[in-house]
């Protein structure tokens, strides 16, 4: 009797874990050989890459999904444990962020800049690469590899952006920063920080926010890491502007300490097809 009870409980836990992963719609990416990279890059040179079938979430992981994980596991993020999250507020010089001991995923830019109560459909941020892995473990998913992310974001294109996007019309596709610098708040596209998932147009394969909104953690290493453990993230974020890093494209690859939490860093999950 007791043995049956535990088997039933275990089954329920497994089913619950998988159900959260399955709530998210996934896009199937066929196995094939794809042209990736950029002739200007040594870290990501232009090359042909052969990948197996995989599926990738159509949206970035939301606060709602992360909240379900925390409710189920009582997980405490690194930012909560070490009070070392990095936040942004208008007025900072280019590439400057503030360390805010009050910031974590429920208050991604610190308690004084508001919480996520009304933003449950926004991407989760202020989590580290380590936290992203913990979520994936629980949900039965994984981070996409650097190559998988690029294939999905390009949607068949071999240029810097997926088909239809140019610097002139990127406002239709991506939540990015349109100000000349970050000294003054920019809400040109309606959002200072993150935007709700699916606010902007999808790429030709149906993925939303592959450019802008939040940088998405990926798995993989680069020559420039020189053997150090570095987390990589792609796609640019709400902070990125054409005058600064301009990372909202399918080519650039960002780097960050695997334990660092920023309010423009999140994830998009993937899984085996």
């Amino acid at each position: 009797m007791i043995k049956n009870f535990w088997i039933l409980l275990l089954g329920m836990v497994i089913c619950t874990s998988y159900s959260f992963a399955q709530e998210q719609r996934f896009i199937d990416i066929e196995a094939g050989t794809y042209i990736l990279g950029d002739t200007l890059s040594l870290d990501n040179p232009r090359r042909a890459v052969t990948l197996s079938h995989f599926s990738i979430a159509e949206t970035e992981l939301t606060n709602e999904a992360f909240a379900a994980f925390v409710a189920s596991t009582d997980y405490i993020t690194l930012a909560e444990r070490y009070h070392n999250a990095m936040v942004f507020e208008p007025g900072l010089a280019e590439f400057r962020w503030l360390q805010d001991s009050t910031a974590y995923w429920r208050f991604p830019n610190g308690t004084s800049r508001g919480g996520i109560e009304e933003k449950m459909n926004h991407p989760v941020t202020c989590i580290s690469y380590r936290d992203a892995l913990a979520y994936c473990d629980w949900a039965g998913v994984r981070l996409p590899s650097l190559e998988e992310w690029e294939v999905a974001s390009r949607a068949g294109s071999q240029t810097k952006y997926f088909e239809g996007v140019e610097l002139d019309n990127i406002m239709d596709y991506a939540n990015i920063w349109h100000g000349r610098n970050h000294l003054v708040a920019d809400t040109t596209d309606g959002f200072l920080y993150t935007s709700p998932a699916k606010t902007f147009k999808a790429n030709p394969w149906g993925l939303y926010d592959v450019y802008g909104n939040v940088f998405e953690f990926c798995e993989g290493s680069l020559a420039r890491d020189q053997g150090r453990k570095v987390a990589h993230a792609r796609g640019g974020s709400w902070w990125c502007s054409k005058n600064s890093c301009a990372s909202f494209n399918s080519q650039y690859i960002g780097s960050v300490n695997p334990n660092a939490s920023f309010s423009n860093l999140g994830l998009r999950v993937a899984k085996k097809k």
Binding site: E30, I35, R46, R47, A48, W97, R180, C245, A246, Q251
Partner: protein
């Protein structure tokens, strides 16, 4: 939605063109004089090779200027208490932990440890170790022919880190001493690493402009020292510089992180003379 996989179309086209050229060359070779067409053959061979290089899939004709890039990111390591400081840093640097526990990304020595360092040791610590996490965009553009460009911004030597407030406060609070230590070190090593340039900028050390100009004139080409002069003028909102075409090109509406001026002697002289005027205006007031 099924994404198409990539065919080998470009390579097929290349092979076809190469075969066509080869056939054409053979026909002409029979009909005309040998001398003329040996030349033609060489020209065509060269053309085909050039075509192949610009279309190859597994690489690129683009080459990063490795030496130039290394110079742009190279730091200068101060000698003051170096072994002691390195040992301290070793105790706080992130180590991969397969069990999942970690240091939480805290890469700063304790307040007590920091306080116990002498001024020179603190200088070494700050110059070789940044405590705060930073995102590194690592923009891959224009990393070829680096010596031919004067960029709008400096590279970073700290990868995914930047100075914490405590470290910035140390630089500002000990401005005169830090400037002196940097000068000593640069004179000795004949090199101004990117960490020194960042420190000069952090302190807005415009008093160092004459020293930087002397460094530019007496040292092997270091275009980032010219970038540093322009960043100091930009920070000081120097009117003459703000109205210049250089400013528009490097920091104007359409400029970006990798905007650059072409390096030539005239531009070097212009930047140095303008910075010199800026220095005089600021210090003679």
């Amino acid at each position: 939605m099924i994404p198409p996989s990539v065919s080998s179309f470009p390579l097929t086209v290349y092979s076809y063109i190469q075969q066509t050229f080869n056939s054409t060359v053979l026909i002409i070779f029979k009909e005309k004089t040998m001398r003329t067409h040996v030349l033609l053959l060489i020209l065509l061979f060269g053309f085909i090779n050039a075509f192949a290089q610009s279309n190859e899939v597994d690489g690129s004709s683009y080459t990063r200027d490795e030496k130039g890039y290394e110079l742009r990111t190279k730091m200068t390591i101060p000698p003051y208490g170096l072994a002691k400081v390195k040992n301290l840093i070793e105790t706080i640097t992130f180590k991969e932990d397969p069990l999942g526990s970690s240091d939480g990304g805290i890469e700063a020595i304790s307040a007590t440890q920091f306080k116990s360092l002498s001024l020179r040791e603190k200088f070494t610590y700050v110059m070789i170790h940044a405590e705060l996490s930073q995102q590194n965009c690592a923009i891959p553009e224009y990393q070829n022919d680096i010596q031919k460009r004067i960029f709008s911004q400096l590279e970073t030597g700290f990868n995914e880190a930047s100075w914490s407030q405590r470290q910035a406060d140390f630089l500002m609070g000990n401005r005169d001493s830090v400037m002196k230590l940097i000068q000593e070190s640069v004179v000795r090593s004949k090199r101004m690493g990117v960490n020194y340039k960042e420190a000069i900028l952090e302190m807005n050390a415009l008093e160092m402009i004459p020293f930087i100009i002397r460094y530019i004139k007496s040292t092997a080409q270091d275009n980032d020292a010219l970038t540093l002069l322009m960043l100091l003028m930009k920070r000081g909102e120097y009117d003459e510089f703000m109205k210049s075409t250089s400013y528009q090109k490097l920091y104007g509406t359409d400029a970006n992180y990798y905007s650059f001026l072409n390096y030539n002697k005239a531009n070097e002289v212009l930047i140095c003379e303008r910075a010199s005027r800026y220095y005089k205006e600021k210090t003679l007031k």
